[in-house]
Symmetry: C4
Subunit: 213 residues, 4 copies
């Protein structure tokens, strides 16, 4: 099975999720700047969720650049990811409605955590299909960034119960970690192409495999 | 006529249907776990409808992998399927609004039944176009799973009038039957490729055709 | 410029228009069949609008099968068509809200009329780009069906002011005219392929060009 | 990295943004022409926003016709543009709600200004990737139209505080400037193809490069 239709479907779902969040921005009745002010935090949380969905789309895009086949399992792992992503607008709206209260902020973190876990499952399923020697497997490596994010989410959820702003800060930090596009895949592709040209990369670059990571 | 644009359009419609259901999840006003509790059954029914739409997308995807042409009739059979799928969010919302009352639960089953029937019509139209010897026709075979589902839906609708939870259980069972991706098509493709390589499959695998199904 | 991205964008917009109409179906509060009854006409008008959008998508699909280039003018003619199509959900909702009153039914017809006119403009723009000898120009011919529809819409709008049900009947008749997929394009493609094989179609089929239309 | 998936995702997001604005058109309760009248300005502002989004899609389409690669930076510059575009429905709804009051009209201009700036950033990022000698860089040139628009938006925002209708006029003028499809890219492609055929364009057309712009 080819990947193009899975990509098109995921693009569609993520595009809709990212856009319906704007429907939550309720137009104020007064035509004044003062009436716009309470929307400030709401726009910020919209921006954060937008960035998160952008990160997932970005990584999804990179991942399927080096995946050439999908199986039934991959289709379901992908739908599972889309399910959790689709709950982000709901979690965002609840945080907005309650001005960063404890429970909604923690729930926002739980949603992000479930997205991260389901993304991990998708990655593992794809690696299982493509083999441990595939470009994908080498690009992901030990998935340090993935594990770090999951840790940060758990810390963020715990912090939210105590000080919601501290929890939010944890989520912002994870977004910043990922905002830098995932060069692992780009680098591995490039390395792969290079090694095809020079047949003995091990001789010219003794630590070529792990050095640039 | 090629299939790519029909696939893109169907992907778009299913992506939208699967996502707008989240708009039905009304954000609770209180920022407490207690306020979140009544949403539990709603999230469950959202998950069930999400899985159903995922199953349809999945099977649609598999079916068009082995369909290489479309006709005007196929376009309309496909739109007919999309029409019934588009009513799933409405049926889901009505079940949620009334906490699994009899009539809404039965209507949910009727919607699923109409989706199954329209899917069957689409399959028949495609087989009519590709011929009884096509990979598609052989993969579908006598469509046991399709008929079983239709039977289950009818039982579920009847049960809903008596005990709504029993009706819902029937719908969950059908979802579980289909959650296992439809290997018939994958197997038939594989068998087909195998038989192209070894010109006399009948000799080497006496029961090759029906054995692995 | 190639047509694929214009097609993808149009598919997206039509998919969204066709699906957001379901959001207008308000879930009844009572879990009874009686509560569902008032929704009957609404579902019917949803079905009619769904069929209309399906017809437009279908014809759009056929038309771009034989169009190989787009210009800036085509992009705008296409956006113009999408603008009027996007007003169909609004017109449908107004008819529903007022149980087939005169003004809403007439406005529904005006929206359909504007869709038909903008579709005509798109066809003319494409023919202008591809030339009078193109497959597209020959398939459209004198566009009898297009002109007939425009006439029917005008009659329907006039009838709506007098008897709304008569106006609606006119719109249903136009839908039925188009429901039969537009074989002109399919036939012209086939004829075109035939004539490429036999170099002198005029000899073997004296009236080949116009006879089968 | 190829551009096709970035294009598909952008198409999806723009298609949704352009369509959800219709959801803001609230159906009037009375079935009379008089009840429809207050919707007049709302339909006009919907049309203006539709045209703006059409312009962005159009230019995006042209720009990626001559862009053959994307980088992580381009993905984010593109998401940044989509973020500001997604706020257009909100700004449009606020203008409508308040019948062209000062602050909402100014905010509409600010949103358009941010879209223009983020589009500029995307163009620069793409030129940085493709080089100053690329077809894209030559087609954009000194980007006179881009700078003119940004100037007009700033004037429009200032005017809105004084006379909202004058501000709106400025936005309409920018739309009209862009409605004429961006022939720079089409011309540069054509010139490029011509120069490939005749190897010494400088001899036959002394000012060929800059003359037709």
């Amino acid at each position: 099975m080819k990947t193009n239709r899975l990509e098109a479907f995921s693009d569609g779902v993520i595009a809709i999720i990212i856009t319906i969040m704007v429907l939550e921005l309720k137009v104020p009745h007064e035509p004044t700047l003062a009436a716009l002010k309470p929307l400030g935090p709401q726009v910020l949380s919209y921006a954060l969720s937008f960035i998160y969905l952008g990160i997932y789309w970005n990584n999804h895009h990179h991942m399927f650049q080096v995946s050439h086949r999908v199986s039934g399992g991959v289709l379901w792992a992908n739908l599972h990811l889309l399910f959790w992503l689709s709950l982000i607008p709901f979690a965002t709206a609840w945080v907005d409605e309650n001005h960063l209260a404890s429970v909604p902020t923690a729930l926002y973190g739980v949603t992000l955590l479930m997205c991260a876990i389901s993304y991990s499952i998708l990655v593992r399923t794809l690696i299982g299909l493509h083999g441990k020697e595939s470009v994908l497997a080498r690009a992901i490596g030990d998935d340090r960034k993935g594990w770090l994010s999951i840790g940060c989410y758990i810390v963020g959820i715990a912090l939210s119960c105590w000080r919601p702003w501290a929890g939010s800060a944890a989520y912002v930090i994870v977004a910043m970690i990922w905002l830098i596009p995932d060069r692992r895949i780009e680098n591995t592709i490039r390395r792969d192409e290079r090694s095809r040209i020079s047949p003995s990369p091990a001789l010219s670059h003794p630590n070529g495999e792990g050095g640039a990571a």
